[in-house]
Symmetry: D3
Subunit: 235 residues, 6 copies
């Protein structure tokens, strides 16, 4: 593909994005129909951050972070930089200088399918990054990639403007067009879960709440009384 940078991308409603941030990754992933979860090797560099934002996507070359500079100019406040690479690469493509710049432009954080460095500084400045590795390995600025094209990051397709949600559980991406529907589904799910959580906290079993006993029996689960019975059943 020819290297391009797209200046303007559509974004979801800020209130929707804020609502999704509040829910967290696990709930949003469920509410989205279990779509959009990045592979679990993407981890936060420090615990406790929970953000959501519009994806500004970046396709980099291995060992080269040039395009991140291009992308920062195209960021709007609240956006999340989503960095993909044309090959598996753990180089530290993002560090304290780029974070200073991204933060100054209002970026909310970074999700990168590469390495990151200066993690102590990044935590000190409260700029959250989710990455596949922590590495001081420096990068060059020699080969073009693209900004704001669809990319695959950690096994998921991310389109420019999709909503990215990230917390201690990982990262999920929601198609921009579905963001409102997912928020609504998430709210229903939360309401629904609250009641179950209370019952479970009171000691009621999931077997009973979800009426699983008859299905377990129909599928053939056999209860035995002891390990002796188990041994007999296998000989």
């Amino acid at each position: 593909m020819k290297p391009v940078a797209v200046r303007n991308i559509p974004r979801a409603n800020p209130d929707t994005i804020a609502g999704l941030a509040g829910m967290g990754v696990a709930t949003v992933h469920e509410a989205a129909g279990r779509e959009g979860l990045l592979k679990p090797y993407i981890r936060p560099i420090y615990p406790g951050a929970r953000i959501a934002g519009s994806a500004v996507t970046i396709l980099t070359q291995p060992g080269d972070n040039w395009m991140i500079h291009v992308a920062i100019e195209l960021c709007q406040p609240g956006d999340i930089l989503v960095v993909a690479c044309t090959a598996d690469n753990t180089d530290g493509m993002f560090g304290d200088l780029l974070a200073t710049s991204a933060k100054a432009r209002g970026a909310a954080g970074v999700v990168t399918d590469t390495g990151v460095r200066d993690v102590r500084d990044l935590e000190a400045m409260g700029f959250p990054v989710w990455a596949r590795e922590i590495s001081s390995k420096g990068t060059v600025k020699n080969t073009l990639g693209s900004v704001n094209i669809p990319v695959v990051c950690a096994g998921q397709l991310v389109n420019p403007g999709d909503v990215v949600v990230a917390d201690d559980d990982g990262v999920v991406v929601v198609r921009r067009q579905r963001a409102d529907a997912v928020l609504e589904a998430g709210r229903k799910r939360e309401a629904n879960e609250e009641d179950k959580r209370q019952q479970l906290a009171d000691g009621v079993l999931g077997l009973d709440i979800y009426e699983m006993r008859s299905r377990l029996e129909a599928e053939g689960l056999v209860y035995l009384d002891s390990l002796d019975e188990l041994e007999q059943s296998q000989s």
Copy 2:
């Protein structure tokens, strides 16, 4: 194997279990004759927890956490759920709802050769989990496995009722029948180590405490005075 759930399992003496919890994984592993250590990819989701308990074992299918619901009913206070899977799988089989239920039934924690999710909530409720991965990926409840059969979890055979010890160093399993003997061996080891620790803190060398010098010489270790000598010895 036919899917079964065994209701009653033998358990070790509660005092023995408490004693093993106090020792921690490294000491228990040594005291057990260096048996029973789960592979080190199993890590705690937050630092600082140290528990021991009787194993309630669960064999799950990939992407399916149905059997965990079955297992929670069979838990007794202080038990540890040990989740194995018929295939390598990192899905988030355990999260805040199941933790709420397990905690309400008195479970002390979970060791799972799969993923876990809602880690922020789990830390907040003080319910420790050791897992191979953190992942929001949801699971279904469609295919039977078994509860309280011998399973292989992270490379170790775990029988129902075996004692599981888990802390920041990882997870070790002790055969129920050997638990008392291991506790006793651990206490001797601790007493023995205390003296050595004091000597080492005073600057006495392990070479001298363990009388290694003659064996090193017998095996052929040669001391050289400088890197120059090293270079000469190699040409």
Copy 3:
């Protein structure tokens, strides 16, 4: 190679070492011309430590930590033990007893291409370790290796007396002979970065600070105004 232990090694100037410790891994790695970074699978067992010291190198056999005892005698205050192994191995070759001994002899920390155990105790005593894995698996003392020979640790050649710098970003090794030059280069870099950091914090773009726009254009980067334009450009 015949197993040897070299008693005396050259060391860099203590002030130089202290200066490198203050800079941290990412800066030192850059100042060294991007040489000497250990692979990123080497991670600190607890956050926040930042040290530098002269490498006392150890070549161990898998499952055998005998040579670490030999090395501790040869340590001087401020040295860092650098443990390599003749095979990939994650056994817990270093734990609280060895740490007690190493600390008593003045060692500043450990970098090991193997496992480590007793991490809770090590954090409590403030003895930092960078390792490839946390594992309680014990080791034997049966097979000789060597101390203070050149080793490859996590993909990097480390000579006895080279300066090792370690922090939350990982570990970098600097040839002893180059340590002064690297410190000087690092100081220039820091001075140079400070100005850029301020500009970036003020919202000036890297594109402008580094004068990238003309090079981007020369290389062929095309700016598009919208995703619609992108779609048209690809059909």
Copy 4:
């Protein structure tokens, strides 16, 4: 997402597909602008096969191959089944029975981001498969996925009807709409390469053919005459 199966998909021109098959993966990948390469962990189960075909995409659940049965009905002669999974999974989702069925319906082969089994039989029947693992682990037919929706397989987005090319080098996917253009670009590339290959075979250097010497010098490459000079340059 709701589980769906799309019956009819657009396909590229059969002559185009045949042309791409003849070129092989490396050339097609270059001709496509270095887009669309699946991660290299996807390997052929036996050497020597080289195919291209229209992608019939399948999204499966871990441990469950139900959707492959649904997909085989929707295959047309020459199609390639492309199997993705909602989680990393190495179960043997495809074996000799499914291969017999797929072959009877005219499928040209399978690319699967999961395991495969019966590899001896598959080679004997000449039905090529590219997979991430070989595993006898059986699967169930309990949970729905989808057929002929866009999927991410081994890190690449694959749309139904995209052209998949696979050989000993791996697998590349070409957007259906670009297939003709890629074929044309590949032919130009082949013609261009033939001349270079001949020159290279005659001993002409790439440095001269590609006129690299001046650029190397401009970038700062320094030629030294000996290792002694190298040592002097570094001290």
Copy 5:
């Protein structure tokens, strides 16, 4: 555990073992109720071998193959050496000398959760090995392990005398006590499959043979006619 070597172990009926060898791994694994499959990282060092035999189990220490010598004395013709290790280790614990010895004593092959070397020689002498890695790394004979105790090899419990079946698909272990029943189940399965294979070869769909259509509908699979419909259904 104390190091022991058990001289005499029970073995399954030779005809049963021969029958299981003829079936191959995938069929035996199914016939055994999908139990006993070793993790798929265990691969044959050359294609085409298919064997079964009684397990002579060996627990080694990392980097040490001493116990294999002990085990060879305890082998009977047709046995398979099953090598486990107390830690993940890829050293070449088995090579042409040990293979010459094992073959002279009638061993049928080796399954090892470690490395193997001299693979060209082993193929030339027709002595099959399944291993996790190929590595020339030599081993020592310094630390005891055990022979003929239950071990976990590549994630599976293997008891001395259990039947091990290995081919191009991998390795499966069958409890000795169940071997006759598994053979019988396998024969039924083969007979049953033959009919299905013929139907599938004739182009009958699995959907019809296994009567899946109604269940697919009941579970909610929706057929769409085109990708346009798909797009509409998602917006």
Copy 6:
């Protein structure tokens, strides 16, 4: 480090190199005192090749094969290109065009800690490559590295002019200065092994040839007569 290319390197005696090639990797590794083995993830792209040659070393940047062009000019007949990279990278840095060029200049083969492509063509032209991955991913020629400097390739230090030996077992590097001594040690080892091989083939046990029985007893190995005894010994 400044990018350099060293034109002239010392080489070992051609007869020595030929002798080492004949021995193969496992024997050379032993004869060298078990030094110099590259990590086992480096595998040949086709079976059966066995070569030795002088190392022309190349340090590349991730995704960039520019320096390989520089190196080919500096090759002499019989040399082996040894490719290291400043980061873990699996891109296909070497393919049929470069192989055509390297072969025309007399290179004997390639060992690369990166990916390789066009493997079918390379096998057809009989140009052997050992690599960490097979990948069609193309590379650029934008960033300088170095040629003929010491590099770490797959965990081993390789100096320019060191002797590299490669076969189906992997790759080993021998210091140039030690090549003659290693050849001689290897010949002694082969002579010594031949006698043992014959004895082993006649059914004599390693336990007796190597006189291990007394050492086993001294170390504490206990022979038991049956699994019943084993069970009793553990309770």
